[in-house]
Every structure is written in C-alpha cells, then in structure tokens.
Amino acid sequence: MFYREAGQFKVSYAADQAIFPIRQDQIGMAMILAVAYVVMPVAGSEYWLETIMIPFLVFSLAAIGLNILTGYAGQLSLGTGAFMACGAFAAYKLTTAFPDLNIIVALLLSGVAAAAVGIVFGLPSLRIKGFYLAVATLAAQFFLIWLFAKVPWFTNYSASGVISAPPRAVVGELYVTGVHATPQARYLFCLTLVAVLALLAKNMVRSSIGRQWMAIRDMDIAAEIIGIRPLRTKLSAFAISSFYCGVAGALWAFFYTGTVEPGAFDINRSFQILYMIIIGGLGSILGAFLGAGFIVLLPIVLSRLPLMLGLPISTATISHIEVMVFGTLIVFFLIVEPHGLARLWRIFKEKLRLWPFPY
C-alpha cells in the first residue's frame, strides 16, 4: 500500500541507475542514517555504543571485505583475521613512526598495507580453486599471526607483546582514539568511515570491476574466454577485500579494544566473519550489515536469556549451551534460507509491494 513505485518516473539515466531508485527506499535509508547519526549518540548509553555499535560497524566493514572476495569474486578465504591483523599492526607502526600523520590517512594507508599482503597471498588463487584455496589461505592466517607475535619490531619491542593504541585527533583537540576519546566521538568516526567505504563498495560491485568479479565467480574459464583477465580480476578482488579487512582491523584495534594484539585476530575471528557473510547473504553489501548485526547480537542475547528467564544454570554450562545453540542456529538458518538474511529482506519487500492484496 505504502511501498509502491507507481507514479515514480525516471527521466534521466542517472535517476535510473541510482542505488536506491525507489523513493520509499531513499526515505528509509535517510531515516536509518538519521537514527545512526543523531539518535544513537544522543540516546545510546556508553555500554551500548562501546560494546555493540562499534564492534557492529567494525565487523560490518570486515564482512564487506570478505564478501567482495568470497561473495562476489567466489574465492573462499579463511584468512580474514590475518588481513585484519595486518591493518591493525600497520596502523600502529604508522601512528608511532609518524606521530603527525592524520588518523584518517594512517587508517587508509594501513588498508593499503593489508592490500599488498593480500595480493601476495592471493597469488596462489590463480592455480588453486575452491576448498584447496581455502586451506591455502589458512597458511596466511597462521603465518602472519605467528609473525606478528614473534617479531618484536611490530610491537616496537614492547615486553608484553600487547600494546595500546596511541591517542590521535581528527582535527585540533577532537580525539577519536586513546583514553581521551569519548565513545560518541569514536562511534561517529567509525560510522562515517564505514558509511563511506560501504558506499564505495556498493558502487564498485555495480560497476565494470564488480561484473568481472561475478563472471569469475560464476565460471572462471568462461569468463577468461570472453576476455576477462583472471590475473587482474582475482588479484584486484584480493587487494580490495584485504584493504577493507585491513581498515576494519585497524578500527578494531584503535576504536574498539584500544589494544593491538595478534591474539584478537586468530582463526576464530576469520570464521566469525565467514558466518556473517553466509548468514547475511553471499554477494550482498546489505547482507554484510545484517550478518554482522546478527552475529554481534546473538551471543549477547544468548548469555542474557537464562538470567532473564530466571533459570538457575552454572556459568560453565551456560557457555557450553551458548556454543551449542550458536551451532544449531547456524545450521537452522542455512536450512531455512541458504541465501541469507539479505534474500529474506528481498522476499519481504516483494510481499510488501503487493500488500494488502494477494497479487
């Protein structure tokens, strides 16, 4: 009734190719942005911003990165955590070696550093495919984490191996990292960066390079025959994916935990981000956000549920049940909708167009 594009005529190519061509979608997006930018920082508590919203944004960015590689270019990767660690350590080295460097530049450069590492570990993808490649990317995961833990140069020869992110300001005295930064400032900074990068990603996958990735994903030999260069396409997917993951890792270390440690980017982190894109929907930017929200919120809800219901269960049992329920939910979701939450949303929109009529 209220979600219908009847009467909205497109009179220019630009209007036809807009990301949100329907006015209701534009209004909805504007409302989401308004809530994110105005309502959240004002009404959200410190706990809400720091333990839910910031990790949600960081995970969304990492999930977009992995989705570009796995969802769009079809290269299964289990090394996301390592590329995030690259970004985090590159950001740490950059901010400590060049204290005057603006934090935005440092973050973007750390993404570039992660992209370079991604290209190196993407080289085998030219020969290896499918699950063989997935296992090969585990080499990146284990090797890089070991490297960051063992070589003291990366931690500036700190004795404990755990280092805290130095305080940095965007302009003047507006600190966004370190102890002086308010949760609101950190949240808004993350939000802006993630929004800009997500917009960029959305436009990338709609353009020529995105279509090349999808052609390689659907059948690489056929793509090669119609003139798409596999080398450039696969490596660009690895590079851009690693760039996103690297920036996400830097955000994780600087804006969420405040410390840079290799242990935070182990293999479980890689799997966590893989769940996000599978549950959210492979090959969908929206799916990355939905999946990240689901995976961030689920453990919090699961650990609170027994308390809210007043069940007397020991904490050890709760943690085991949590793991069990998490596994069950993943299987359940895959059975109900293997194409993820993004597909559910699309079906819902189709239904909404007709509502309240049956057809």
Partner: protein, 312 residues
C-alpha cells in the same frame, strides 16, 4: 644477519650430518606423529569422497568420540564395552546428522554445506563438554609408553602402537571398500551421484554409512590422541593440523591422506628441531600450511587427487 643466514642455510645441515642417529630419531618420531594426522585426515577423505561435503566437524567428532569413550571408562565400564558404547554413539550421531543436517541441504552449493559442518562443530563441542565437563580426562587402555631402542635409535613404543593401529585401520578400510557390496556402492556414489542413484543405490543410507565409518575413524583417532595428549578441548584443534595433510594428499585419496600425513609429520618435526630455534620457535603452527601451499602451486589437485578437468 650473517649469523641468521648461517643458522638457516648451513647449521641445520651440518648438525644433520654430524648426528645422523638424532636425525633418524627425529624423522621416525615425525613419521609416527604424521600417522596420527593421517587418522584424522582419513575421516575427512571418506566423507568428501562419498558426499562431496568438506566436513570441518571431523576434529570435533574426534573430541566428541574421545569424550564419550573417556566418560564411559570413568563410569566404570570395561574397555570393550566402552568402545562398543562409543561406537553406538558415533553411529547414532551419523544418523541424526544425515537426517537433520544433510537431507534438508541436498543440492545446496558446497560452501553452504561447509558452513553447516562448522555449525555442527560448535554443536558437538558444546554438547560433548556439557555432558562430560571441560576438565582434562585421561584415557589409559594399557598402551605401553616407555621408549624402545632399535639399533641405537630411541623410539616411543606408544608411537609404534599408533602407527600399527593406523596401518590396520587403513588396510581394513581398503578391504572394506574393495571387497564388500557396500564398499562398491560407496565407490559408485563417490564417482557419480546421479549415476549411482539411477542404478538404484540408496544415496541417503550410503551417507549414513559413510558418516558412521568416519565417526568410527574419529573414535580410533580420538582414543589415540586422547591417550597421548589427554582428552581436552585442544583435541578438536588437531583437525587444523589435518587440513594441510589433506591438500597435500588430495581430498579424494585415502593413500594420499596417509602419505600426506607422513610427509607433513616428518617435515614438521625436522623443521621444528633444526630451523625452529633460528626462526624463534613455534613454527609448527604454519609450517605445514606453507609446505602444502607451495606444493599446491605445482600440483593443484594434491599428490593423489583426481586431475581437475574443467569444461565451459
């Protein structure tokens, strides 16, 4: 820098040359550890061959089986009864998995099935530890652990028992696959699902059988790993060691799993002993993956994997 280069390129070989007995000891120890990796990799191969599912839950199944076996032993069962009871548990698990997870996901892309097995991993980890607790359990079924001396080379007798067990298991599986009706059906399904269905092989019961066999292999692996390391959560991480073995040997080859396990086991030990100190130690986490990856660049389908033929 010069010292570092000599530590990497010269010193290891010099020490190998000077103490050949030690080299043989390291090599044999590595080979026998490799056999244990093969045991885990075997379960992966069985399931991948028959159903095309990359079963990430194999490691969790090893832990799950070992937890039940150790739990039954602690409850006072004799060894043979505990073995039988855990075997029944693993078969039941196979039936439930087929019914609840695999059947609704027929015809989904491989990555979805892969994710489902990761979900299964979580479920098994949580479920097993919820029932039996997360304390370290000890499995003692009377395998001797004192070192033996053969021609001046010291070898742990437990490793020999593990090696013989793995050998018997592989021989048994090979006979089962070649000379029984079910084995032939399994090979037919592994070859071509559609063709197997059309000659009247019931796909679903074949899957139950394959998962049961993989469960029993996991039980053997669990008992072996459990007796040497103790039954604890880290047992599930052995699966991560089995993955490079898999890609080295090829996903579809049982001999590949064995040979791959031996190569990975031996090179891991030699790398750790001779090159580990120069590189700062603990290199065995990634060393096997690097070997496997470099190897894959030359043979993308692994040592014994079927040649990948692609058509447009």
């Amino acid at each position: 820098m010069e010292g570092f280069l000599s530590d990497i390129f010269i010193a290891p070989f010099v020490s190998m040359w000077e103490y050949p007995v030690f080299l043989v000891e390291v090599l044999v120890g590595g080979l026998l550890v490799g056999v244990m990796y093969s045991l885990v990799a075997l379960g992966f191969v069985l399931i991948f061959k028959a159903s095309g599912v990359f079963n990430f839950a194999q490691g969790a199944m090893v832990l799950f089986a070992a937890l039940f076996f150790a739990g039954f032993l602690e409850a006072g069962m004799p060894v043979w009864l505990a073995l039988g009871a855990s075997a029944v548990v693993m078969v039941a698990l196979a039936i439930v998995t087929e019914r609840v997870v695999l059947r609704p996901l027929v015809n989904q892309p491989p990555i979805v099935l892969f994710m489902a097995t990761i979900g299964l991993t979580f479920f098994l980890d949580g479920f097993g530890q919820m029932i039996w607790g997360s304390d370290i359990k000890v499995i003692d079924i009377g395998i001797p652990k004192e070192p033996l001396e053969i021609h001046g080379v010291l070898i742990n007798s437990f490793d020999i028992v593990a090696g013989v067990t793995a050998g018997l298991l592989v021989a048994g599986l090979a006979l089962f696959f070649h000379y029984t009706k079910i084995g032939r059906a399994l090979r037919a399904v592994a070859d071509d699902h559609q063709a197997a269905l059309s000659v009247g092989i019931p796909l679903q019961s074949i899957w139950v059988i394959v998962w049961s066999v993989a469960g029993l292999v996991a039980l053997v692996a669990g008992i072996m790993w459990g007796s040497s390391l103790g039954v604890q959560f880290s047992l599930a991480l052995v699966a991560l060691k089995a993955l490079p073995v898999l890609i080295l040997g090829g996903f579809t080859s049982i001999p590949g799993a064995i040979v791959g396990g031996l190569i990975i086991g031996a090179s891991e030990k030699i790398g750790e002993v001779y090159w580990g100190p120069a590189l700062g130690g603990a290199i065995e986490d990634w060393h096997a993956y690097m070997i496997a990856m470099v190897f894959l660049l030359f043979r993308p389908q692994g040592l014994f994997g079927e040649k990948i033929i692609e058509r447009v």
